[in-house]
Amino acid sequence: MNTKLAFSLLAAALVAAGCSKETPKPEQKTGAAPAGESAEIKIGHVAPLTGGNAHLGKDNENGARLAIEEANAANIKIGGKTAKFTLVAEDDQEDPKVGATVAQKLVDAKVAGVVGHLNSGTSIPASPIYNQAGIPVISGSATNPKLTEQGFKNQFRDVGRDDQQGPAIATYIATEGKPKLVALVDDSSAYGEGLANEVEKTLKAANVKVLPREKGTNKTTDWKAVLTKLRGQKPDAVFYGGMTSTAAPLIKQGRELGIKAVFSFGDGACEGEMVKLAGEATEGLLCSQAGIPVQAASKKFLDAFKKRYNADPIIYAPFTYDAANLLIEAMKKADSADPAKYLPELQKIQFTGATGPISFDDKGDRKDAEITIFTMKSGKLDPTAVYKGGKIVPYQEFVKTAAK
């Protein structure tokens, strides 16, 4: 008898569920639901959680997780139900193939939105998969221009692009150091090569001579052959497009070989971990981060992050935090977690997050993104200048004007 009852209830539930999909009467459904009913909304997050940059991946994930935990604590109502957000965190191993696989996995898991991926190299192959499924994706760290140049309406990023970051660091090198000859090295990844290309363009435009590009891979630990060659060519500055795990041996071996040039990096190697891996060799290095320095993120975010994880964010956590909040905010505005319904809200969103005011242009890039230049001073990354709208502004000045 009991089983029969259960079956009939199940059947009734199925019929009800089937009906509500077809009949355009959602208010009836929500009206029938008890007041305390909650709906699970899955949000995906992808970053490398294994390998040389796992710590950055975890940092990104922590940012997104914090946003979701705060949203759950706030008991947000979406579509009349209390939204219960869950973070589906995946590891793409920094591998383009795995990136695409993981994207499919998230699509199959029916996530409402995705924060990620960390790397451009995995974000780009994953983007058509999300696009086909119509799921909005916001990366807080993928800076390769190509990502938002594919015409995908659902692809966003709340961080600057290489074609802004490259000019920023290159303008800084060209104006501050006044070098005659610059060497460019990259790790053959979409990110590293893209960034080095942008730096090359800007340097050439500023009439700085550039050596033929040298290349490694994103696993290179022995840079001696490349560096030895560079030493013979005597550049005044070296720019490397790549991540920390390869940038640290590069600068360390460069100093060992007696190269005196200024070493500069993009955001992939702009973190304290560099000092741990390369020690004193890092003194005086220049690097850029898309956006504003972690310490310039909103105090509310920094305090909450510190309280939750008992650690400070490394680089992108404020951006993934904002990315997750942007998704949630758009869902709130549309009163729906259906990607097709809240995507238009996301496109025209005006939101002030941990990294300042955010809105997107037609491509899905953040409007007016800033780039910050750092210098390594006695083992600490010290913000020296901010690049905004094609101009370098000294950091102190920027903070003063921003505070106004």
Partner: protein, 327 residues
């Protein structure tokens, strides 16, 4: 010219480490015709153990050299134990099985060791403590650091010691006899199991030292470091003639130099803009530009290119004998 000399020094240093690792491959192959793919992982464990010990000792203010020696002193016996255990548990039960079985087992052992290391030491890149102050000396315009000198001295010292062990001691004689014919060696009163175990233990000990040297040289250690290092050392062993001990030494050093020169010069040779008849048709060349076909990111390819060339033109390696009937 100083660039060329510097590339040779770089190559020689990396090559001598390859040579010491290659010895582990070649010794085991020489005696039981097994390619021990887990040998790279033994090297990695050597580096990791030394990393842990050195990190633990740094706060006590011992002299840096003593700390490194203690680190290596812990890494060597632990790796020897790993080598012994691997032979006893994984390979000995399969000694008379078809040759594919121990080969696949070796790959399995390699995966197990890698993941054990992942569990113990985490997935992060570990910064090897740089406690020995590295002085740089200039020789004919090329820089050579104290660490490089130490690596060269230790590697060549180890190779000499191994050569004496193999060719001048009773254990070495027993090893060579076992390599020639296990059954007959057994009939002559040689304890085959003991000799094979000794081969694994010595190879693992060498691997441990190589791991410590590699870690100190590049300043990095990670649980995946053994795989590419192992593959290169294996290529070096094949280049020299697998099973042949002087061959592994020669192969390692040669491979290191080929790699350094290859990575250092490939970009120059494949810059199509320097070839006048081509430059005209490539727009990137205009105004002193460059169009480089292959860059130094192909560094790792050289090891395997060499491996393929050797296998095609001289399958038994540079110093190898013909062993057609063995396979």
């Amino acid at each position: 010219m100083d660039t060329f000399l510097q590339q040779i020094i770089n190559g020689l240093t990396a090559g001598s480490v390859y040579a010491v690792v290659a010895l582990g491959y070649t010794m085991v192959y020489g005696i039981i015709q097994l390619i021990n793919f887990a040998h790279g992982e033994v090297v990695m464990i050597g580096a990791m153990v030394a990393f842990t010990v050195i990190n633990a000792l740094v706060p006590y203010g011992l002299p840096p050299l003593a700390i490194v020696l203690i680190g290596a002193g812990c890494a060597v016996p632990i790796c020897m134990l790993v080598g012994y255990g691997m032979e006893k548990l994984a390979y000995r039960p399969l000694r008379h099985a078809p040759r594919l079985a121990p080969l696949i087992t070796a790959i399995g052992v390699s995966i197990i060791l890698q993941h054990v290391a992942l569990l113990i030491w985490s997935r992060n890149v570990l910064a090897f403590p740089q406690i020995i102050p590295s002085r740089t000396y200039m020789v004919g315009g090329a820089a050579i650091t104290t660490i490089q000198i130490a690596i060269l001295a230790i590697c060549f010292g180890l190779m000499a010691a191994l050569a004496i062990l193999i060719y001048r001691t009773p254990l070495g004689t027993a090893m060579r006899a076992t390599a020639q014919n296990q059954q007959v060696a057994g009939l002559m009163g040689i304890d085959i199991n003991r000799v094979i175990a000794a081969t694994f233990v010595i190879g693992a000990g060498l691997g441990a030292v190589a791991g410590v040297l590699y870690g100190t040289y590049y300043g990095l250690a990670q649980y995946t470091m053994g795989s590419i290092l192992g593959l290169k050392a294996f290529s070096a062993a094949v280049l020299g003639g697998i099973g042949n001990i002087p061959g592994a030494m020669l192969g390692g050093v040669l491979l290191g130099i080929v790699e350094a020169l290859g990575a250092g010069y490939i970009g120059d040779f494949t810059d199509l803009c320097q070839y006048g008849w081509l430059a005209g048709s490539i727009s990137a060349c205009d105004g002193g530009g460059h169009f480089v076909l292959f860059g130094s990111n192909y560094q790792d390819v050289f090891a395997f290119l060499v491996l393929i060339l050797v296998l095609v033109f001289r399958p038994s390696g540079l110093l190898g004998e013909r062993v057609g009937d063995r396979a």
